[in-house]
Amino acid sequence: MSLTGSTSNEGNLSKQGYDMWLSWINDQGGITVGGVKHKVQIKYEDDQSKPDLSAQLMQKLITEEKAQFILGPYGSPATASDAVIAEKNQIPMVEANGAAQAIFNKGYKYTFGVLSPANKYLTGVIDMAATLSPKPTTIAMLSADDNFSVEVAQGVADYAATKGMKVAFDQKYPNGSTDVSSLVAQAKAANPDILMNSGHLAEAIAINKAAKDLGVNAKILAYSVGPSTPQFIKALGKDADYVYDGSQWTPQVKYTPAFYLGEADYVKAYKTMFKTQDDPDYHVAESTAACLALQKAIENAGSLDAQKVRDALAKLDVTTFFGQIKFDSRGLNIYKPMVVEQIQNGQHHTVFPQDVADTKPQYPTPPWAQR
């Protein structure tokens, strides 16, 4: 897990998610296997946000610490390198923080991801847009050139056509670009109804600033990664309002969990355990969900045998507070929808799908000059 280094923030959130489940399951006496309760231990190593180191440490945990099952690291790159280790040692890995489909297209049999794959990140926004009036029809897409971001952008391009929308402007920028203003100027020239970014938090902030600077008055501003974090609102203040994003989970969703806690109790337990006023974000929730999937698979298998648990994972179909968890033949959870969030008056609100939303989208986004 990336406990230090560039993604230490996300890594520590993921660890919180794992620890939430750990404390809960051991309070219950552990995982029940064939009528016997087994206490659970999670061993962590710090991969310093480096994918190669993550794979080395994973091997070490298997050989030296005799790890029986693997919970994933943070991020698509580290997950991709750890998947190789899981496969080589034939130990099932349930991961919650690597959404790039590239991880799952290599025919691996031991890697299972509980989160929605990258190509679905922004399709929820398209679904939502199709229900709004006046209906937006043109999209400008600015995308970073890493695997994950390209998949998100491609997902939008493929899906938009089926909803009668088209991508009028599409540009990739090098990952880690520090200036995006000229791309935003080009996007403005295409006069899009929807301005989208498939990238990372830093670029989402820069694009939102440039959109205001240059007066890009799209009806929808939607960014794949970034707006769901509290940092986005802190960095932009009022300018963060009206922005949409696709999120794996929000504290407002309403599912009917088969076991473990409901959404409200989960939020309460999180605040108590970590002595914070902040809601758990989706990194925390999806990490807890990975533990739940592994637990259920072990219980279903009635065994601690790696092979039997792998087979139970492949057959798993269960609803948790995080949504449905069920894997396709590649180990991807394509059954859980992404939810759409919008920032309204400095607060995150879930606005789509309607059956889990807590409020309506504020649409269209008013022009910058009238805010």
Binding site: S6, Q171, I205, D213, L214, G237
Partner: protein, 287 residues
Amino acid sequence: MSLLAQQLVLAILLGGVYVAVAIGFSLVWGILNIINLSHGAFIVVGAYITWTLFGRLGLDPFLSLPIDAAALFALGYLLQRGLINRVIRAPVFFTLLLTFGVNLAIVNLLLAVFTSDFRSVTPPYAGSGIVLGPVVIPSIRLAAFAIALLLAALLSLLMRRTRIGAAIQAVASDRDAAQLVGIDLRHTYALTYGIGAACAGVAGGLLSTVQAISPTAGEPYTLQAFVVVVLGGLGSVTATVVGGLLFGLIEVFGQSAPGLGAGYANAIAFAVLVIVLIVRPQGLLGR
């Protein structure tokens, strides 16, 4: 046509940012012969000072620039005097290693203090701009551009018109002779490095208003500074200004190059760099 005009405006304003980013780097390289790999980290430190003052005290980001400069000057002066000066006569490889180490230390310290969260300074007037028909000139970027040029002018004046500047120039041309005529070498070195760091601090303060910053965000700035200095040439403030503006133009028009797209922006920028190195190895205005 209006898109072209808008791009041109953005390119020139971006060039101003590059001037600010590169000017201190150029000074330290030109005078001390140190390729300062911790330059990007200094920029980020400046950005965090501005962010902290804005967040805690509500101080306008442009008013905090002198504080950035003073703090970074002190940091730079002490670092050079206490640490880097020990290897100043060693081959360039040693100063590279040492400044790289300083960079790692600063980045990890920032991570410990500020966490890896992204931050940005958004004052109330962010997003306002001068509208000329279809072209928008964002006021924050315009102000940043003006300050970058002012910084360049001040540095140029300092080098040409003051005793400190004369001492720095003397040390650069012949350090033994300079010592003979009574110039305190260690003090002058540390001053130069401090001034370079102060320029980085100002650049950081400016960047915090237009971009998102995090402790690890400094590396691209070191690279950009390097490219700007190589393009423009070592040894004069004017060369850095020309290099910075040129690099801004290349980046922006590289992003919209017909038939290629923004993914090639870096490739185009570095291709131009290679061509300049082949045709004029000393840089466009280098001596």
